[in-house]
Symmetry: D2
Subunit: 256 residues, 4 copies
């Protein structure tokens, strides 16, 4: 591939990462996974019992999709560390999507606990993909702490508000030393395309697909949108101009 | 196709219509046409002499793309009618993209001349796809006058400012009795996706591709973006919520 | 005054023009008029019978506020002309706020009837302040037809959506030869300030005040906002910068 | 006053706080201070030598304006603590505007050092008004640490970009237990009005006034804008509506 997407030295076959929360059934999830073309899905470790029920995991394994355990529901660095270890043992992977939220109302990351957790997890050998707010300075500190990818939100989880502060995302991208994955807030395809145009390396979304009226169709839309946004970013868009500019100059135009 | 795009009873194989103005060379245009997957391109009749030079037309004919003559450069209904007739004779098609602009600075449509021209062209047997501003009332009147597609601008031609007034586009779509094609203002892929999400049937763009740093790559981006936006529109996006909503509910979560 | 606001040679003491529709009672209207400091209010001629009820007019006359009859509710140039003449006779003023809307759903101006009506009214000796959409070309044509002020909407009447397309308002202002009054769409104070910052000469609003929870307080807010926006426009704002700039440079800073 | 603005038990006579950085001369600063009607100005402790030059302080003292020392230029909690103590001794006030920025490029607050500094300063008896990013969770933590006012940015210092993420400001306001002061990013009057409409208790700005083409006129604009936004917030704005609503209903309208 001429534009590979690599995290921690491993190439992923798609720039669209799917969350599995909110899917009305394993079958719908399966259809969405296929339609999305995703190569990696996140699974909440505190919700799944990999030994028994496991239908979400079954879907992902059957489709050959990489499983990324996440620490959804954790409020402290300590909880996140325990949950991450559970995921590592159960799923036999050192990769973890780190979430440490401050409360159940906003589901916004707690910057202090998040930074602590990142340091602990990195120290414990994890490959940490960290869900964060859109503060460029916190993103910088998380990278200094050794995370493998920084995942700023566009808007609160499940809000579908899109990217509320594109300027911050651009600042994060501009100085990033690891991949930037836009995570949370995406509502529809144009939001995902915009994320990529701002320079993000990938997009992670769940509700926008799993709670859409037609999840599989929306998953296909997101796949195309991420690809579109990435290509547009690479293609070098025209500048914004306050005034019009004829695409068809009228000099030398036929007289009437 | 389960989601056909039809204008005046004829199905077009793509919802992306390409303008040919601004292409640095016939070869670049050719690559962009191929990458875009477009089924119809517009050509300015007052610029092209179909009998001689014709390299733009050669490209389109060779690629089997439908040619839609346009009246770019016309300021009055009378000029537009003459130009449309030239196009009909030269290209042997009753279809015309009608442009009647007020001046060379803004390239904005003149509503009065535009409505006159539409009536004249429809009376003369043309199939009229009409480039207009984003005024829902003018769009309504153009449809009453018999146009086959109404093509509101997102922003001034060549500005790349995107869709400045999505509310007006939604109003136009809501009461349209013919296809709505977003025409002018598109700067990048997310703009095109948004146009489709607002309910437009297709997108027409030129500069965004022909003047991009890599036109063929941007053309491919636009193709994906239009497809993505259309699917997202049909898939039924999640509502925007002021507050967060967990994709992974924490009820019944594993205790730590 | 060092920054006078003049329409058709007459100076008005305030850049805030108030519509009277929607006021829950004459007393509330009275309080709002006083708090707004307005010098001119519009009254719908087809609603008011100046001979009998007249309480709205009583309020305005008692407060010494200029009354500007309007043609609200008119759908055609003919209706508007009749209504304007009623207003001229009843209120003994050649000034009229011209409204010609296309339907009761959108209340958007009909560009064709509006231009016809403007020409007729100007020919009949009226001083025409014309409510229009935000199309710069229609605004230009209305000025060519002799209107005394052009009054583009920010958003549909009563919507409170603010200024949906600031770019169009700037284009209208840039080439205006008569005063530009932002009319319709204002929801709150910052919208009114923005209108003035874009270069409008005045703001006309009704529902934003009359339907606010506390009309008099909102009227006072609007008065300050219009003044603020006007001063900010004249004061020359700082440019927008993508990057931060210290207000307190740290060169020569005390060492610690 | 029926709507007093109180920080740490002390009432301030204005909701507009002025920064003094960027003023081209003491005289211009003086005019701006007067025109703004401000009751409190911040002064960078690491720039000013209160014993000698002191012209900025002279202006403020002469005008009877409260002086709020700030820690601009500090990068660590330790530096901020030292600087705050300098200010306390020099200006004989326990109030301090706390700034701890991460670098000179973005001038964005460092969340970790900022929280440390807040805790230290509160422990040391300071009344801490803390400049922070727009993260609602960090704002919450700063309040838990005992700050007297939380001062989120609208956009980076000196950028004039306005309020990039109004949603975050609303979240901060919704749960604030101390006054919220919008600090940084304001470019023009409508930005200041918007801040107040979002529910902020006050606005702090410097460059928008001191670097405007006419600082005193812009200061007057800001004074009116802050007042306008505050009143509009209290007055209860009309809801945003997707569709138009006649301010002058046409029922019972005069027939023509």
């Amino acid at each position: 591939m001429d534009d590979p997407f690599i995290i921690a030295g491993q190439e992923l076959g798609s720039r669209l990462i799917l969350g599995t929360g909110g899917a009305p059934s394993p079958q719908v999830l399966d259809e969405a996974v296929v339609a999305s073309g995703t190569a990696m899905c996140t699974v909440a470790m505190r919700r799944v019992d990999p030994g028994t029920s496991g239908s979400v995991l079954d879907v992902l394994v059957a489709r050959g999709v990489r499983v990324l355990p996440n620490t959804a529901g954790c409020r402290t660095a300590r909880e996140a560390l325990l949950t991450a270890r559970l995921g590592r043992e159960a799923l036999e992977t050192p990769w973890v999507k780190l979430e440490v939220v401050a409360d159940d109302e906003t589901l916004l990351p707690d910057p202090v606990e998040l930074l602590d957790a990142t340091e602990s997890l990195v120290g414990d050998g994890f490959t940490v993909l960290v869900y964060t707010n859109d503060d460029p300075i916190l993103a910088r500190r998380l990278q200094q702490a050794g995370c493998a990818a920084v995942m700023p939100l566009g808007a609160p989880i499940g809000s579908g508000l899109g990217i509320l502060n594109p300027h911050n995302i651009e600042l994060i991208v501009a100085e990033a030393t690891v991949p930037v994955v836009l995570d949370a807030g995406i509502g529809t395809a144009s939001d995902a395309a915009l994320a990529m145009e701002l320079g993000c390396d990938a997009v992670l979304l769940a509700s926008a697909v799993t709670r859409a009226q037609e999840p599989a169709l929306m998953a296909a839309a997101m796949a195309d949108a991420v690809r579109a946004g990435r290509m547009a970013h690479r293609a070098g868009r025209i500048p914004r101009r306050e005034h019009a500019k004829a695409s068809s100059p009228t000099r030398g135009m036929a007289a009437l």
